[in-house]
């Protein structure tokens, strides 16, 4: 499913956090969004997913403008997202988290008649759990999962909604070098298996250049550059604004 952004703008008072951004993510692509801290990367994801309203512009999913839709309706149209700080249900086990997500997805969240989980939900939750590789901890409460597993669970919750387009806000945030690679390999595996249109925010340039097929660079809310890893690596504006500076976070 193709994701297209047209003239997207978000102003906070006088600040233009996202300033006339137009980008296209072809169906089945694996793209990275990079840029210095405060460039507006997370805001960009929040606007696409509907966490808060845009000031102007359009977000097109397979040609349909979804900018007026609620975040829930966007999820139903096939847009999924995970969060920079892992966002799950801390007092529930991994399985309960996933079963709850599937239950919501199949429109059973208001069901007061049957028992939780409704028929068929457990199987689908197990499928997602195997897909992301959390089978070692089905009955562990999310609050006491390791950091990496919490990030995985967050992604798994997003996948439970069977998205076609998946936005991952720093899937490797807060991880050590080795764990980062393991995580990103899993993400790449998910992208292949589910034939997703996947967009991720990432600060580790080694990962970005190796994994992403196309890269978009945001700076001060604007698109600074877009292209293949080779093109971005040699782009003078990107080197000046980002790659060559001290702002490369750990």
């Amino acid at each position: 499913m193709k994701l297209e952004i047209k003239n997207l703008t978000k102003t906070w008072g006088g600040l233009r956090a996202i300033d006339d951004v137009s980008l296209a993510f072809p169906s089945g692509s694996l793209s990275a969004v990079i840029g210095p801290n405060g460039a507006g990367k997370s805001t960009f994801f929040n606007l696409i997913s509907g966490a808060f309203p845009a000031s102007s512009g359009e977000v097109l999913l397979e040609g349909d403008n979804i900018i007026r839709l609620s975040k829930a309706e966007r999820m139903h149209r096939g847009l999924g997202r995970a969060f920079q700080v892992a966002s799950c249900f801390p007092t529930m086990t991994v399985m309960e988290n996933l079963m709850a997500a599937v239950t919501a997805h199949v429109g059973q969240w208001g069901n007061i008649i049957s028992r939780f989980p409704p028929p068929g939900v457990r199987e689908r939750a197990e499928e997602v759990m195997e897909l992301v590789g959390l089978t070692h901890a089905p009955d562990v409460e999310a609050a006491i999962l390791s950091h990496g597993d919490q990030k995985l669970l967050d992604i798994a919750i997003a996948l439970a909604l069977e998205p076609k387009v998946l936005l991952l806000d720093e899937p490797t945030a807060g991880m050590g070098p080795e764990e980062r690679w393991r995580m990103i390999e899993r993400v790449r595996g998910l992208w292949e298996k589910r034939k997703l249109t996947l967009v991720f925010i990432e600060h580790d340039m080694d990962i970005v250049f190796q994994v992403a097929s196309t890269i978009r660079v945001l700076c001060y809310g604007r698109v600074l550059a877009e292209g293949t890893p080779a093109e971005i690596r040699n782009n003078q504006a990107v080197i000046d604004a980002y790659l060559g500076t001290e702002e490369h976070p750990a």
């Binding site: 997913s49 999820m75 966002s87 801390p90 709850a100 208001g110 007061i112 939780f116 909604l161």
Partner: protein
């Protein structure tokens, strides 16, 4: 929530009910029977509040308004009409549910602190209304003249034993229904909202709708508790709808445990027992009660059942 088939809850409820119903056959104790009657009302009241507090994370300070509303609505229906008692009870619960829906539609727009305040404000509104509408409610004297306890299926509710049996059955069925709701997909939705409402909304859950449902259902069950309270006192008094009564329910919930379904029932039992025992010894029972709650809060740092659940790991929820 695994391993919680419906029949197990039903079996547990049936055993509890049989035990309670069997006790008077072995030994008659008016004090104990009074206690169970009052506990029936209080247990429904507190457990319905916990659907909001423990399950959904909505702390209502005004839940007593629906308890009081139920008591008055039932008392008035019985006094002003000749409807059979079960019909009047069902009508009362429906009316309270409707009232909760209307009040909830306004309250759930606000979050956390302000939600608590506005529920309290609504309760005070109802309380003032009861006090000032003398011609209907009897004002501060309460509904006088008693509630005609018309016979149902051979039950004569004027007899304490029959009232005891009636209240026990209604309370157990009511609690079983509440239990079913908390273990339904909707109950899980409420826990999702409590845990992480932002994530819940991204999963397609319409937060206001789920909260309004929860508020409405909780109000309806509090109204059922009010029906039992009205039967016990054979009337209705403004105190039933006053805010300290909401506080009692909050005490019961916190004392018993917000994360255990039966926590509020245990809390209500402890609270009522303390009241009875302490007020026999001293007139300062409020002081003793305060100290016990303080000791429980500081000592256990959670409700009694929640504490036991943690202290005895491996036990089912």
């Amino acid at each position: 929530m695994k391993g919680h088939p419906a029949w197990r809850d039903a079996l547990f409820a049936a055993i509890a009910l049989i035990v309670v119903l069997a006790i008077p056959l072995v030994h008659r104790s008016p004090a104990f029977e009074d206690f169970i009657i009052r506990l029936s009302a209080m247990a429904l009241f507190a457990t319905s509040l916990n659907l909001l507090v423990g399950n959904t994370g909505m702390v209502s300070f005004g839940h007593g308004m629906f308890y009081g509303f139920g008591a008055y609505a039932f008392g008035l229906t019985m006094q002003l009409t000749t409807l059979p008692l079960p019909v009047a009870a069902v009508l009362t619960v429906l009316a309270t549910t409707l009232a909760a829906f209307c009040v909830g539609a306004i309250c759930i727009r606000l979050s956390t602190d302000y939600f608590a305040f506005i529920t309290l404000a609504f309760q005070m509104l109802l309380f003032s209304l009861i006090l000032s509408w003398q011609s209907l409610t009897g004002g501060d004297q309460g509904l006088r003249g008693g509630i005609p306890r018309r016979e149902i299926f051979g039950f004569e509710l004027a007899s304490q034993l029959h009232l005891y049996q009636f209240c026990a059955v209604v309370a157990v069925l009511g609690l079983l229904a509440l239990r079913h709701i908390t273990t339904s997909p909707f109950g899980q939705t409420l826990r999702m909202i409590r845990d992480n409402e932002n994530r819940a909304s991204f999963l397609g859950i319409v937060l206001w709708r789920a909260r309004l449902w929860a508020f409405t259902i909780a109000g309806g069950f509090a109204g059922l508790g009010g029906v039992l309270a009205a039967l016990f006192v054979s009337g209705a008094y403004p105190e039933l709808a006053d805010w300290p009564n909401s506080g009692q329910a909050i005490f019961a919930v916190m004392l018993g445990g917000i994360n255990s379904f039966l926590g509020p029932v245990l809390g209500a039992a402890i609270l009522l027992a303390l009241n009875d025992i302490v007020s026999r010894v001293t007139e300062y029972h409020g002081l003793v009660l305060g100290l016990v709650i303080l000791a429980a809060a500081l000592g256990l740092r959670r409700g009694v059942l929640d504490f036991l659940k943690l202290a005895l790991p491996g036990r089912a929820k």
